[in-house]
Amino acid sequence: MADPELERRPEFATATVAYAHDLERLWETSPGIAGWLSTVDHKEIGIRYLVTAFAFLCAGGIEALLMRLQLAGPDRHVLGPHAYDQAFSMHGISMIFLYAFPVLSGFSNYLWPLVLGSRDMAFPRLNALSYWIYVAAGLFMYAGLAIGQAPNDGWYNYVPYANREYNPGMNEDFYSLGMIFLGISTTVGSINFIVTLARTRAPGMSVNRLPILVWGTLTASVANVLAVPSVSLAFFLLWMDRQFGTHFFDVPQGGQPLLWQHLFWMYAHPWVYALVLPAMGIVSDGLPTFCRRPLVGYAPVALATVATMILGFGVWVHHMFATGIPNLALAFFGGASIVIAVPSAVAVFAWTATIWLGRPVITTAFLFFASMIVLFVIGGVSGFMTGSVPVDWQLTETYFVVAHIHYVLIGINVFPVVGGIYYWFPKFTGRMLDEKLGKWNFWTMFIGFNVAFLPMHLTGLWGMPRRIYTYSPDMGWTTLNAITTVGAFIFAIGVAMLLINVVISLRVGRIAGANPWDAPTLEWSVPSPPPPYNFAVIPHVASRHPLWEDRLGESEVTSLVTRGLLLDHGRETIGTSPLDGDPDVILKMPGDSYMPLLLSVGLTMGFVGLLVHLWWLAVAGAAVALIAGVVWLWPRGTLGQRRVRHV
């Protein structure tokens, strides 16, 4: 009965050199182009996510700078109205869909198995698929810009502007199909995170010992699973209206334009939280390292994260206060929007208390994390203001709202992300980023950002509507706009400093070692950069801060990182129970595969076919995707998915 392919008791010991060598051979990606196209290593995929997201950040940034040049003074002619429409639409799409979320997926992909004490994500091939689709969908939407037909109705794309009658070009078709395409990537990525967290943690890592980092991404992933279908459906219905004459949104036939707004915001409001909660997790994780103490209030912060998201599903109508909805709805959604300040404040107080009670070490990463608290408070207060219905009626569709969203998204996404780069760059590459250039980097970004966006509140209060491509000198907005343009360019120089620092430090940065910051979590227990198998032996976790146990003295049992489970019968990792983290299965992990790439190619063909009405191409794409899927799912003996005949 004791067939080791069916069940066995894992060996418990210290890793030997020969054993580590065997693991290296089992887990390494083959060199060259073949390995590059087929790898499923979560670290490689994580880095790709980060690099690609920054490329889209730069593209969206250039679009923003063009808009700022256009608005620097009244009646300028850098961009015409049509080009301006495409610029602000692509800016929003790039930043919100192609940068802000994917960059967080990059961190999570790289870090999750390392902080959880596992060897890969739950579904390594799905992880590769999620990345390839993200790239393909991003390029798909940018292809519209290349032929001068980019989406041009803003990122929230209201009908009836977006109906074919008023927008007959292909602009909206690029957007509609591109978003459905991108939704596949987001969905499979989110499911991967959820199952990874539920099932592939180090033994002993019960729910109360999870690193604080993972709560944000977990919450955002669950939200995505529930919210993404709404926007995919909305864009699908819009595409049907535009191409096949259905009547979901067109008014003359009884279509309901407000249905678009409901479906869009039922998705997009939770999405905004999906863009910030994982970034708040980065701060909750990184800030305490530099304050030399654990985060104050782990449980309240974790619960507040989840509570923010739950409330976040009940506030979408605050984007629609000016649409003439009933008073009861105004009251309910206004109240809910204001209540959401409570869990947000919990996190702010926890971070402040951590700094207050700690002994802060002022590194670049610390500055980015700590400044985020300030920016979050400013963005939070302006959001709280527009949660009040009468104030919103005054301010909606003005630059006040633009200032708000940038304080929230740059403040709570970009600043933590850049801080996270400074924090984990040593782990990613084995080298430190330069601290001196880092300080310049921080202050340039911080000053540039506030010069650009703080005056923008006033621009909005003085009545400047968003999305206008120019204004008259009599409006009194000239000086404020000029200041904002100057700030935007300073901010851009700050971002460039980061890129320069990365390029230089990759070559000549100081060698980091495994744990340069003396940080507490598992990713710092392995070499920098980590070996392909992450952990030679699967660690056993006894507390939230496995590497700080000797000085915290919180628990009697100690975590084990050098001695643990030896798993080397093929690519293996341990599966644990969702709540207690008890080992309950030895999991067989798949190796590198071309199928994720092939499936993405098939889907790309399919979506291009739908876009240009080449139905044969759509069918061919579906066939390619289908073949890739069948090969992918075909049961394999090496993965323990089917019976193996013993000879």
């Binding site: 499911i191 279908p229 036939q253 009884g254 309901q256 309950d584 299965v585």
Partner: protein, 199 residues
């Protein structure tokens, strides 16, 4: 040997049934696909409320083909259950019979729905109801097609003798998806064929 090591039990290896990662992935895939239908049904309800009765076609979709179709689809549930029971017990014959029956019943539903579309006077462009009707039934058919394809693959794999009492996670995963397709089918039937008659 330390305490931890001694307390470690003998662990199953690979994909043991509901402890397999695929099973967990499928549960969440069902959640997200279920949400998709929920949003579409929300849109349907939204039209019903906003247009207040002025949007139903003169003749609601007939039951002549739809009713037998949905009955066949529901009967596929015990068939699929027989298949997964066979898989869990390692009885290949029960597994094969269950899969063949589920495949035949599911395909019959698909054919009846297709015939229903052809005989239906309603069109895609005929008001909101037409648009919702075809989108909802069409999305369900797409999910059904994925299920039928899965059943076909499962039939091939079972016939090749891939599964036994210890190795059958793919069957359980497909069964979960199939039950989901049936639940959505019944919901769509109630929404489009029953509710318009009750109102």
């Amino acid at each position: 040997m330390s305490e931890t090591a001694r307390s470690l039990p003998v662990l199953p290896v690979g994909t043991p049934g509901r402890r397999s990662l695929g099973w967990w992935g499928m549960l969440w895939a069902i959640v997200t696909e279920g949400t998709l239908f929920a949003y579409l049904l929300f849109s349907y309800g939204y039209f019903a409320v906003q247009l207040a009765g002025n949007w139903m076609p003169r003749q609601v979709p007939p039951l002549r083909l739809a009713l037998p179709g949905i009955v066949l689809l529901v009967i596929s549930v015990p068939a699929m259950w027989l298949g997964s029971f066979g898989a869990r017990r390692g009885r290949t014959v029960a597994l094969l019979i269950g899969l063949v029956l589920a495949l035949a019943l599911g395909a019959a539903f698909g054919v009846l729905q297709g015939l229903d579309w052809r005989s239906e006077p309603l069109t895609l462009r005929q008001g909101e109801f037409g648009s919702v009707y075809y989108t909802l039934t069409g999305l369900h058919l797409a999910h059904l097609a994925a299920g039928l394809l899965g059943l076909l693959l499962m039939l091939i794999w079972s016939a090749l003798g891939y599964f036994d009492a210890r190795r059958h996670a793919p069957v359980l995963i497909l069964a979960a998806y199939w039950y989901f397709v049936v639940v959505v089918g019944v919901t769509v039937f109630v929404a489009l064929y029953v509710l318009p008659r009750v109102w």
